[in-house]
């Protein structure tokens, strides 16, 4: 029989904070600080001011915690807040980084998510992602980060980005194709030298 102490979940911590145990919010900061910083660094392709943005995300999370519905995953909810903050950060870098109207969200797309395939691909894509991620358009870049680096499922990404699950699948597929293309171009250039 297993007597080990079961780790308290993010959702339970969020409930405690909602009930007034503000100190527990510190646990959420400890759990998510590195993850959100990594997400921001990869997505915005810069290191400066990431800590400030992440701090603002936590402040926003703290102020909005009563809006969190514990029947959903806390990670998806906080990443949604982070997504909005990083999009604002991106807007300061470029004009109209993600189009308001996206044809990918127009119709439904049939997608099938295979966890085994993801695991295999994550290893395979690791090197490619590291070297070519910045060549991607923000909309493809973000889903690749969330799926292969932050480990979210299509359904969770759909809740974070507020787009249909099918659209997530299509963006991941196109993102992967673009990454491989960019990687092959680099390889070719290196080979010619």
């Amino acid at each position: 029989m297993y007597h080990g102490k079961k780790e308290i979940t993010d959702e339970d911590i969020a409930i405690l904070v909602q009930q007034g145990d503000k100190e527990k919010f510190g646990l959420l900061i400890e759990r998510y600080n590195d993850k959100l910083s990594r997400y921001g660094r990869k997505f915005l392709s810069r290191k400066e001011n990431i800590d400030d943005i992440v701090q603002d995300i936590f402040i926003n999370t703290y102020q909005s915690i009563q809006n969190y519905d514990p029947s959903f995953k806390f990670s998806s909810w906080i990443y949604r807040i982070a997504h909005n903050a990083f999009i604002n950060g991106l807007k300061k870098q470029f004009f109209n980084p993600i189009n308001y109207f996206d044809f990918d969200t127009l119709i439904s797309h049939q997608v099938y998510e295979d966890p085994e395939e993801r695991e295999r691909e994550t290893k395979e894509l690791k090197k490619i992602i590291d070297s070519c991620l910045d060549t991607l358009e923000p909309k493809y870049k973000e889903v690749i980060i969330l799926h292969y680096i932050e480990d979210f499922s299509y359904k969770e990404i759909s809740d974070i980005l507020k787009i249909p699950t099918g659209t997530v699948g299509v963006r991941i597929k196109r993102g992967k194709e673009s990454l491989k293309k960019a990687y092959n171009n680099i390889e070719e250039k290196n080979g010619k030298r």
């Binding site: 919010f25 510190g26 900061i29 400890e30 600080n33 701090q55 936590f58 402040i59 703290y62 102020q63 909005s64 915690i65 009563q66 809006n67 969200t105 127009l106 119709i107 439904s108 759909s158 809740d159 507020k162 787009i163 249909p164 699950t165 099918g166 659209t167």
Partner: protein, 246 residues
């Protein structure tokens, strides 16, 4: 290394709590978020009501004078149909539908549904409701009737309902009073109620008068020469049943 990491994390947490304390930041209450949702839902409902009303008005204004029949007169009639179509309200309604769609996307079922399906679904629901109001109730006719003499605010959009085409358009709307061998006697509708009803003899060129009956509402394409209309094409029109025949 692990200790350093732990120390850093604690410092970040401490800094954040200090900021919360210093800036006096508080959690927004559950009621605040609930009220925000209620407000959003109320706005969506209001947009839906306005949009359904406008949709039924557009259908009513088309049926009031059966403008769709103008298309039966060929190119000239089709151009006039598009000229008389209430584009302003149609575009306003489209903007409202898009706005409602964007607001619905704040909800889970909204963003989980592809935009095309959501848009088509919204348009379909609003059109069906508009058709039901237009065909199943006398709401639009009653408003038109009540605001006819007093076109303030909402009544102003009803001003052009039932307005016949300008005579310069060379398309006339009227009621058949008499049928002769190759001509019809037609009462051309006045532009406004105070105008005198003008009776014209409509000379038919290659059109069989047998297809018409006395009392039919018709659109005539032709030109006025010596108080006679030389008709090139005529189509029957079927105005809104609520409107009495003039």
């Amino acid at each position: 290394m692990e200790n350093d990491k732990g120390y850093q994390q604690k410092e970040i947490t401490k800094e954040l709590f200090q900021r919360i304390e210093k800036e006096g930041l508080k959690q927004k209450s559950k009621t605040y978020f609930k009220l925000r949702i209620v407000f959003l839902v109320l706005i969506i409902i209001a947009i839906f009501i306005i949009s359904i009303f406008l949709c039924s008005f557009v259908l009513f204004s088309l049926r009031a004078s059966d403008q769709i029949s103008l298309i039966g007169l060929g190119g000239h009639g089709t151009v006039l149909f598009f000229k008389l179509f209430p584009w302003g309200l149609f575009l306003l309604n489209s903007a409202l539908i898009i706005w409602a769609g964007l607001m619905i996307r704040s909800f889970r079922f909204g963003y989980k549904t592809p935009i095309l399906y959501l848009g088509l679904g919204t348009v379909f629901v609003m059109t069906i409701c508009g058709v039901i109001i237009d065909q199943g109730t006398s709401l639009q006719y009653n408003i038109w009737h009540d605001t006819h003499d007093n076109p303030i605010f909402i009544g102003s959009i009803y001003e052009k309902v039932r307005t016949r085409p300008d005579l310069d358009e060379k398309i006339f709307r009227g009621i058949i009073l008499d049928i002769q061998q190759n001509s019809l006697l037609v009462a051309i509708e006045p532009k406004i109620e105070e105008d005198e009803i003008l009776n014209y003899r409509v000379v038919l060129e290659n059109i069989k008068p047998k297809t018409f009956q006395i009392g039919d509402s018709i659109y005539i394409e032709g030109i006025i020469i010596n108080n006679e209309i030389k008709a090139r094409a005529i189509v029957k029109s079927f105005p809104h049943p609520y409107f009495p025949k003039e």
